[in-house]
């Protein structure tokens, strides 16, 4: 909607003697997680169980994390946020708060796919896996990642599909594929008992922070204007209008 020149979002470059501090928010799942890292060290991580007011608790939880690290928010070099897919409201609350903080402090932001975090947490070097998040209404969000040289690389997706469509992905894959992610991975593809399943029950904001750090170091940080959520699923109104049925993945916005 607006053409804006990006504000300078300088990040301390590695090797200048200053550690990079990243604050990450992961609220795209029913949990709420906030982590603070300094270079590759996790300083504080706090995870709140699903609860009625968990989205309202985001600002106090951030404050608590900063407090425990005895730091003020202006020490943060880069903000990271789980950009989805997942709960629409959760994604937006995390992103709105992070955009507000980053804008106010003129700091860069990095959005990390919730699927990529699962890959980073559960894949071994040289292996690949299908990362899965429950999309409700009988569908799942899925993407195939491969870990190489310590980095997770997206091989296919992300997409919104019924769990049965995973069969095609597994059949077409070269080599073994693990099924990682939401505990839902234990309940799908019952006819393929040999597929290794790695449930990741609790989301990690630290994974979000450490992945964001790598992005920052590669000069891939964004600013609050350019950061966009990864909804994958379109709004019901768009689905209805497009008349394509809700099982097709929409354009990323």
């Amino acid at each position: 909607m607006f053409e804006l020149s990006a504000r300078p979002t300088a990040v301390k470059s590695p090797g200048n003697g200053t550690a990079l501090i990243v604050l990450a928010v992961h609220s795209s799942t029913p949990y709420l997680a906030v982590a603070l890292t300094e270079d590759r060290r996790i300083l504080v991580e706090k995870v709140l169980s699903p609860g009625r007011r968990h989205l309202e608790n985001l600002a106090p939880t951030i404050a608590e994390v900063m407090d425990r690290a005895c730091m003020s928010l202006d020490c943060v070099d880069c903000f990271a946020v789980a950009k989805g897919p997942g709960s629409f409201s959760g994604i937006r609350v995390g992103m709105a708060v992070v955009k507000g903080m980053a804008f106010a402090l003129c700091k860069p932001v990095v959005g990390i796919s919730s699927l990529e975090m699962i890959a980073w947490q559960s894949l071994e070097e040289g292996r690949q896996g299908i990362c899965v998040i429950d999309a409700k209404r009988g569908d799942i969000y899925a993407a195939i990642y491969r870990k190489e040289g310590g980095r997770v690389l997206l091989a296919e997706g992300p997409m919104l599909i019924p769990p049965g469509s995973l069969n095609r992905l597994i059949d077409h894959a070269c080599g073994d594929l693990k099924l990682c992610g939401d505990p839902i991975v234990n309940d799908i593809l019952e006819r393929r008992p040999h597929v290794l399943r790695i449930p990741v029950p609790i989301p990690s904001a630290a994974a979000c922070a450490l992945l964001a750090l790598e992005r920052c170091l590669r000069g891939e940080a964004e600013n609050p204007h350019t950061l966009v959520p990864l909804y994958i699923r379109r709004s019901d109104a768009e689905e209805k209008k497009a008349g394509e049925g809700r099982r097709k993945a929409g354009p990323r916005r």
């Binding site: 909607m1 607006f2 600002a59 928010l73 609350v93 709105a96 708060v97 980053a102």
Partner: protein, 369 residues
């Protein structure tokens, strides 16, 4: 101004309840966010002056669906907010570090839309260690008619106790504003809002979204007495409104006279007659309320207050009743963030407490709350 210190004796300060804003009242610059429905608003105000007031309209997004789609509105707000905030600050020539207070609409409105604006504002306030005030959208409308001039300024020094009519697509309210920040709701709609009635009847007549302004355009040159439609609750002794019956009456009328839609002149007459019915009720009840509570001033705000026919009818009725009418400028009639900022500033100046930074949205917030 340096951002406020985050730590005092090792304690986090920001979410302490009831932070006193009164010491900030002088020369305080306010950043205000409004996202209660389908317009993203960001404004910067200082000492009653509106330094910038920007609105990103989403009409085109929603037009293809024939009405506001909450999920799309929410997505648009999140996309627009940083850019619009940057533009609002730049056009006011203000840096984040110059700000003294952050304000946002807390309700009423669409839950998702409110959530994005509120959380963005809370993140902003927390990062700078600034107080935050969550504002009732309706209460902000009560004061939009006092904002005048170019550049716009809130003329609260000439404030008079008044009866205020807030009339929009979502709400129809009559409020007795006894003094600044002191009000009592006299009546409100028991079903559809007046603007909703405009939109729904416009749809029945076959006009495209947004129907209200289209209906007004069609009504020009039409005969408002060509067809008679009910004036719901006009003779009722309360100050409540009801507009759903009028919509039904139009539906029955069109069932019995389908030919009206094929004749451009009859169509114009129909639009003018529907508009006259709505305007009649709003005007009569507002003037009666002003006389009943004994004020000499009437104000009107909200999207439907842009309707010229309503403005003219109220002007005439107020003149006859010896009342002064203050109509909000069109830019302050529709949803805007300037009114949110001005109300927050007013509250801070009166020493009212700030809102907690973990405050929830209140989609059904009432003016009495």
């Amino acid at each position: 101004m340096k951002p406020a210190r985050l730590y005092v004796d090792g304690q986090v300060q920001f979410y302490k309840t009831n932070q006193d804003c009164s010491q900030l009242a002088e020369s305080m610059t306010v950043l205000a966010i409004e996202t209660s429905c389908d317009e993203t608003g960001v404004a910067v105000v200082r000492n009653g002056d509106v330094l910038s007031n920007l609105i990103a309209s989403q009409i085109q997004t929603h037009a293809q669906y024939g009405g506001v789609v909450p999920e799309l509105a929410t997505r648009e707000h999140l996309r627009n907010l940083p850019s619009l905030t940057r533009l609002a600050l730049d056009s006011a020539n203000v840096q984040p570090a110059d700000l003294g207070l952050i304000a946002a609409t807390r309700g009423p409105g669409l839950p998702g839309a409110l959530l994005v604006g509120l959380k963005f504002a809370q993140g902003f306030a927390y990062a700078l260690g600034l107080p935050f005030i969550g504002v009732n959208h309706h209460e902000a409308h009560l004061y939009s008619a006092w904002v005048r001039g170019k550049p716009a300024r809130a003329g609260f020094e000439s404030f008079r106790p008044n009866v205020s009519l807030i009339v929009s697509g979502g709400h129809t309210l009559l409020v007795h504003v006894k003094a600044l920040l002191d009000h009592r709701v006299l009546g409100e709609t028991v079903d559809d809002a007046a603007g909703e009635c405009f939109d729904k009847t416009a749809r029945l007549i076959g006009l495209s979204y947004p129907g209200g302004p289209q209906l007004e355009r069609m009504a020009k040159g039409g005969n408002p007495t060509a067809y008679h439609f009910p004036r719901p609750m006009l003779e009722d002794d309360t100050f409540d409104f009801s507009f759903s019956g009028l919509k039904t009456a139009v539906a029955y009328f069109l069932r019995d006279h389908p030919d009206v839609l094929d004749d451009p002149e009859k169509r114009r007459d129909l639009c003018a007659s529907v508009q006259a019915a709505i305007v009649d009720v709003l005007t009569s009840k507002t003037v009666r309320a002003a006389k009943r509570v004994g004020v000499d001033t009437v104000t009107i705000s909200g999207g439907v207050a842009c309707n010229l026919s309503l403005r003219q009818a109220l002007t005439t009725a107020c003149q006859q009743a010896g009342l002064t009418l203050r109509v909000a400028d069109p830019v302050f009639c529709t949803d805007n963030a300037a009114m949110v900022g001005l109300l927050a500033e007013l509250k801070a100046a009166h020493g009212l407490p700030s809102t907690d930074l973990d405050a929830e949205i209140e989609p059904s917030l009432c003016l009495g709350d």
